[in-house]
């Protein structure tokens, strides 16, 4: 139940903007119109009360504002005629008819591969998340004018290059859905490192995607994965801000509601026979929430993920799981076979850990030192330095 304009903004921004883009066919115009509609709501609703269908009211108000704007721009006479025709169709709609939910169209447009990844991320947060340009700029540590320009360029390209506003046809859907999930997961990972508001925003987007595409296992899998990872937030850092490794985390600190919600999404994905990368990662994250952990199962799932992704980082995770399931020597044997990760700090820290466990201390020290040299994050730096001191005693 929407009770105020502020609440409506959070709940309805993406939906209202998507509907306006659908009607007006122009991002910039639709965004201005949505902004005006919300401003009008903020002014009127406290006085006149919240309308029975806030989203409809906002879309109708925004559309009328856009028509006014276009009428003022005489040079766009032809477009106005076109718009009036469209607007008449729309006016014939029943006042209380639900406006079509076009957030999915918007999401696919924002995550179109013809846009640079950073533009996809910014545009998705701006249009669907309703974050202000300033908020996005701060979240990604860039100056606000830089972010504003990035958004303007992206919107201009959508218009000039003819990026369609639609859910892609079946033959394009797998690739394009992968682009959407990748963008959302990227936002989540930006937040996972500490900026919690981005992680929360990614989960909101993931939840919307899972609702809008209830039959896509990867959409459910992505939501499950993010919820299960987010559930660990309180356990990932100790009271003085030091990183706590997964193996040492206090599982009682996990957010039980988030674990349950994550597992429910995972069950939906599995019921849809999902076996894609996000589903498998979510299954691994789910196993990690158990005590004691089933390392053999985790290792088997990492093997499957390695086949799906062909990623040396996944191969490294598999090696660590194998080390837990079948002993450090077995894990180390897999680590030594990994290629192309020489400048990846976790390869060296994992290798150091396995070497230390089988008593090859000198080699372990060299590996940890290599990891240390590659780290730029303070908390991680202290963690590895601590491990070095521990084996030097």
């Amino acid at each position: 139940m929407v009770t105020s304009a502020a609440e409506a903004f959070r709940e309805e921004w993406g939906r209202v903007l998507a509907a306006l883009i659908g009607i007006l066919g122009d991002f910039e115009l639709a965004e201005d119109a949505a902004q005006e509609a919300f401003a009008t709501a903020a002014e009127r609703w406290p006085r006149e009360g919240v309308p029975s269908n806030p989203a409809n009211w906002l879309v109708t108000t925004g559309r009328n504002r856009a028509i006014d704007t276009l009428r003022r721009r005489r040079t766009l006479a032809e477009k106005t005629r076109l718009l009036e025709a469209k607007a008449e169709e729309a006016t014939e709609m029943d006042e209380d008819a639900t406006i079509p939910d076009e957030r999915l169209e918007l999401l696919f447009t924002c995550c179109h591969p013809a846009l640079a990844t950073e533009a996809q991320v910014a545009l998705t947060l701006r249009t669907l998340g309703g974050l202000s340009t300033g908020e996005i700029a701060r979240a990604f540590l860039v100056a606000e004018p830089t972010m504003a320009q990035r958004l303007v360029r992206a919107k201009a390209k959508i218009k000039a290059a003819g990026i369609p506003f639609r859910v892609p046809p079946d033959h394009l859907l797998p690739d394009r859905l992968a682009a959407v999930t990748a963008t959302i997961y990227l936002i989540f990972n930006e937040g996972y490192g500490g900026r919690g508001e981005l992680a929360g925003e990614a989960i909101r987007l993931g939840r919307a995607l899972a609702e809008l595409m209830p039959d896509e296992p990867e959409a459910q899998g992505l939501l499950a994965l993010m919820l299960l990872l987010e559930a660990r937030r309180a356990a990932r850092f100790d009271p003085v801000g030091e990183i706590v490794l997964l193996a040492d985390q206090d599982r009682t600190l996990y957010d039980a509601a988030a674990v349950a919600a994550g597992r429910a999404a995972l069950d939906r994905a599995l019921a849809l026979r999902g076996r894609g990368p996000y589903v498998v990662q979510a299954a691994i994250a789910s196993l990690h929430a158990d005590e004691p952990r089933d390392w053999e199962q985790i290792a088997a799932l990492y093997a499957e993920l390695a086949r799906l992704t062909d990623s040396p980082v996944v191969e490294l995770n598999r090696a660590v799981a194998v080390g837990e399931a079948y002993g450090p020597a077995a894990g180390l044997a897999l680590v030594e076979r990994i290629e192309g990760l020489d400048s990846y700090r976790y390869l060296h820290s994992a290798r150091g850990e396995l070497l230390a466990r089988i008593g090859r201390t000198a080699e372990a020290r060299a590996a940890f030192e290599r990891a240390l040299a590659l780290i730029d994050d303070d908390a991680e730096h202290r963690l590895i330095a601590h491990k070095l001191r521990a084996i030097s005693r």
Binding site: A114, A161, P164
Partner: protein
């Protein structure tokens, strides 16, 4: 939407380089020719032109009223344009599908899709 499809040859073997072209199996040569033919007959496609090799290019600049002429293409030879055609398509997705059918795109070159300025 109107687009110009710019075909960058890159290392693509072309009949203009007979020694490279000879290394392409006959069946593949026939396939490439057939693909270009099919492309030209695709609705929305308006054939442009295939260009002579970048080595034949002359680049002209004017500075302080002086015409400066240099041998070779404006960009690196490898990045030079090999040909172009016009496309009328519904949207960028349709243009991307056409671009992906240009043989040069799978043979080491690339296709750049440029929307045309509309006035």
């Amino acid at each position: 939407m109107k687009y110009v499809m710019l075909i960058h040859q890159g290392d693509t073997p072309t009949p203009l380089r007979p020694e490279l072209w000879a290394e392409v199996p006959a069946a593949e040569q026939a396939q490439i020719a057939a693909d270009y033919q099919a492309l030209n007959e695709t609705p929305g496609v308006q054939p442009g032109a295939g260009l002579q090799l970048p080595e034949t290019a002359t680049t002209v600049r004017v500075a302080d009223g002086q015409t400066l002429t240099t041998d070779g293409p404006f960009v690196e030879t490898k990045e030079a344009l090999g040909g172009f055609f016009f496309l009328e398509a519904d949207d960028l997705d349709a243009a991307i599908e056409i671009a992906a059918r240009v043989p040069a795109a799978r043979l080491g070159g690339a296709v750049e899709i440029r929307p045309v300025q509309e006035w």
